[in-house]
Amino acid sequence: MDSSIIRQLRKIAGKDAVLDRPEELMLYEYDAGVDKHRPGAVVFAQTTQQVSQVMRLASDKKIPVVPRGAGTGLSGGAIARREAIVLSLARMNKILEIDVANQRAVVQPGVVNLELSNATTKFGYYYAPDPSSQKACTIGGNVAENSGGPHTLALGVTVNHVTGLEVVLPDGKVIELGGKAQDSTGLDLTGFFVGSEGTMGVVTRITVKLTKLPEHVTTLLAIYNTVEDAANTVVAITQSGVTPAALEMLDGWMVRCVEANVHAGYPEDAAAVLLIELEGMRETVNEQAEAVSAVCMQQKAREVRHAKDEKQRQLLWLGRKTAFGAVGRVSPSYYTQDGVIPRTKVPYTLAEIERISKHYGLVIGNVFHAGDGNLHPLILFDSRDPKQTENSRRAAKEIMACCLKFGGSITGEHGVGLEKMGLMTAMFTEDDLEVMVRLRNAFNPESILNPQKMIPDLHFCREITGPLPKAKFEPVAGLPV
């Protein structure tokens, strides 16, 4: 990158806040997904004003900027696609205010998700959205991706927990959206902004809701001899009238993988397990636990175990939360998918994934938010083998096509980013995408921020091939191609 730009960035953020040597930049060329690109520079902003100055500089010089939190994203949202500035918010990591009386916290974007809950439990509150990466991921990144997590089944995803944002627009202007009130007069731009994947503005301050800690929590582990029985249980629980706080499923392969890693106490001979968490008033939890156990047994569960104490409960969750890491021990590479299907279609879809797995000769492990119908098939492959790499991508595409066939979505919580951009045309028409582009342009007219992400360039749509339904494409006048 031009050395005068580096000099100006250093002037804005400080000498130690800009990286431009190749060996430093290498660390910022990937996230937790599969794509890789090296940025031109990395700048660590420490104040809103610095973010604003960086954006103004970038706008003047027409240099793309990619905001980045902890880089735990799975869709390439934080990867600089071409010679660009990565704007890291990791040093803006202060909890600015814990306002218990208003059940709100005000945080900088670089605050780590779990640290906010850790800071608020002493007041009887916590921050509900809990992505599996919550020990590392930042709340700013969660806002960009509208992150979910196991416990969003009952309590909602990030957008349901954000009431206010301070945003720096690409031209450096700082605006406010919402505040501590639940909502405000006028358009709900706060809700609209969440999940915009860094394509509309850089979030520099976030007001989030704090949720009262439940009086009682219990976790059940239901064990199955077939995947089908477990999948049917998910449908039956949904219909029973009980909404668990979390309803997670791991298939037999994942169970063994997890056990080898952390000894969470899952039975290694199971074909599938369901991890079911219930929370609320003590009486409610006890009644629901009874009802859910009965449903599991009706659906041919081999056994339903109740976590005896908090330690056992934490251990059961440790298995789930470290599942992705456990896979890393047995396979050189894996490709995490994030599809969503209507909940009644879980049994069919798992059967289809099994077929795809056999067809390509690749192991596909399943660990996912069953209650939401949000699948996370993990496709194992060896990235040194080009054939396997290619097959893993094909298998992923077929899984996505299967989700779409059932009226589902290509992403439930990981975002579109770079990875799923080519699939957007399978879900949306060019009119849908054109309106999204127009709305993005209201915030980010020159596409300085996170360019070429989320919404495909329209000429790109034409190149979509493979088993996915092809979108009809006509170029739209006035749109950047």
Binding site: N102, Q103, G124, E145, N146, T152, G156, N160, G164, I175, E176, L177, G178, K180, A181, D183, S184, T185, G186, L187, D188, L189, T190, F192, S196, K212, P214, T238, Q239, G241, G280, M281, R282, E283, T284, E287, V340, P342, R343, T344, G373, G407, S409, T411, G412, H414, V416, K420, M424, M427, F428, T429, D432, L433, E434, V435, M436, L439, A442, F443
Partner: protein, 455 residues
């Protein structure tokens, strides 16, 4: 009153799109303005063709559903086309097993709720006028009632949306699954946009199992302060009531069967039908088994002054939801505000209302969500003199001036004559220029609800 006659050529073109029987005249007024024509499209494509025509001819369009909230907002300069969605009234897809439903925008909400009820499911929205209000209208106005405390409002259940942009494009956002981050969240953008961005033609919702049993606990207090202290204790307790309403002393008058409504012009609020209440109330509604409801009774203890179940309970919550309508049925000149407040600002806002009202010869009454800060404030002018426009303008300005920073309060109802004298929507913490940029992006000619909403 001003009426605009649409050129005959426009009528003909509209008739060519929807059939001549579906282009009609109306005497329905929106803040004194009578739309030149009403059209009833039968499909999203027809909505597209109408908007395409309107956009090309610079005709101002007001999207409409059950006409329950059309008086909200500023006085429009003109309305050329009232675009009614009432023919778009079908359930497109309902799979009880998936707990999702897809309906057309003109479907009456109550009808959708009835169909869901057959499977013991519901969309937890209890806004007012649900018999007439349409699904699209409720979304467009971001309407909510007491259930908002626990469930949020329409934006939180809406998982997919189809709408038509001002230039006639039929567009969708979201989908039919409960978790989905593909593309921008257009559901959030359109909910509460008051028809100013696009015409909603279809919506998909996640639905919930409906509660099998509920009980209501009313607790009375001698002062607002005591009521709010009780609220704080509730927040700290393990109890998780489904609804938590605060009711001002003046509101009790409107939370009862009204009997025959008297001539609003002759009714004097300073002579209410019953003795004036002096107590503030916090009313909780809980759901669960006998065991769980029993625990509520035990923990709330002597704070409870009245317990309601069954039809008496349903009737009571009906009154709460229809508070605004009851006020307006009896006081044509009443002013109603909707507030958006941080939780701790509920007290200051209610104090402000009580303090400001007498200064402007108004009687105050309020009902609202104590746990979310969404209050409905009603101010009834005393019949000492005919109310003047400036009385409303000054009252609103004094009230807003006393609200803590970050609050917003829009005037949902007041006499049309008063509206030009103050800002109906008021200030908001969200950047208004950004809102206008968004509006320009999808309605550049400003044909949708021109001059009525904040954008």
């Amino acid at each position: 009153m001003s009426t605009v006659t649409s050129p005959a050529s426009v009528d003909r073109e509209l008739a060519a799109i929807v059939g001549s029987g579906n282009v009609r005249r109306t005497d329905f007024e929106i803040n004194g303005v009578v739309p030149a024509a009403v059209v009833y499209p039968g499909s999203a494509d027809e909505v597209g063709a109408i908007l395409h025509l309107a956009n090309a001819r610079d005709l101002v369009v007001a999207p409409a559903g059950g006409l329950t909230k059309q008086q909200i907002g500023c006085v429009p300069e003109r309305i050329d086309i009232l675009l009614s969605t009432t023919r778009l009234n079908k359930v497109e897809e309902y799979d009880p097993g998936d707990l999702t439903i897809a309906v057309q925008a003109g479907m009456p909400f109550a009808e959708m709720q009835r169909q869901l009820g057959e499977h013991q499911q519901w969309v937890p929205c209890d806004a007012s006028s649900l018999e007439h209000a349409t699904v699209g209208g409720l979304l467009a106005t971001g309407a909510a009632g007491p259930l908002k405390s626990t469930f949020g409002h329409m934006r939180d259940f809406c998982i997919g949306i189809q709408f038509v942009t001002a230039d006639g494009k039929v567009v969708k956002g979201g989908g039919r699954v409960v978790k989905n981050v593909a593309g921008y969240d257009l559901m959030k953008l359109l909910t509460g946009s008051y028809g100013s961005l696009a015409v909603i033609t279809r919506a998909n919702f996640k639905v919930f199992p409906s509660p099998r049993q509920t009980r209501t606990f009313a607790c009375s207090f001698h002062s607002l302060e005591e009521a709010l202290q009780f609220r704080t204790r509730l927040f700290q307790s393990p109890l998780t009531p489904m609804c938590m309403e605060i009711i001002s002393p003046g509101a009790s008058e409107y939370l009862r069967n009204q009997g025959t409504v008297r001539d609003p012009d002759h009714y004097s609020p300073e002579q209410p039908v019953s003795l004036p209440a002096v107590e503030w109330q916090i009313v909780l509604r809980a759901t669960g088994s006998d065991n769980i409801l029993g625990r509520y009774s035990r923990e709330l203890g002597s704070a409870v002054t009245r317990m309601l179940e069954g039809t008496a309970e349903e009737e009571f919550w009906g009154w709460i939801c229809h508070f605004e309508q009851s006020v307006l049925a009896r006081h044509r000149n009443a002013m109603v505000l909707y507030t958006h407040l941080a939780i701790q600002n509920v007290g200051p806002a209610l104090q402000a209302m009580q303090r400001v009202a007498p200064d402007y010869n108004m009687i105050p009454a309020a009902v609202g969500r104590a746990a979310t800060g969404n209050l409905v404030l009603a101010l009834m002018p005393l019949s000492v003199d005919p109310p003047s426009a400036m009385q409303y303008a000054n009252c609103v300005s004094a009230l807003r001036g006393m609200l803590p920073p970050g609050s917003s309060a829009e005037v949902a109802h007041c006499p049309t004559e008063a509206k030009p004298h103050f800002d109906v929507w008021g200030t908001t913490p969200t950047d208004v220029n950004m809102m206008r940029a968004v509006k320009r992006a999808i309605d550049p000619k400003n044909i949708l609800n021109r001059g009525r909403f904040i954008v």
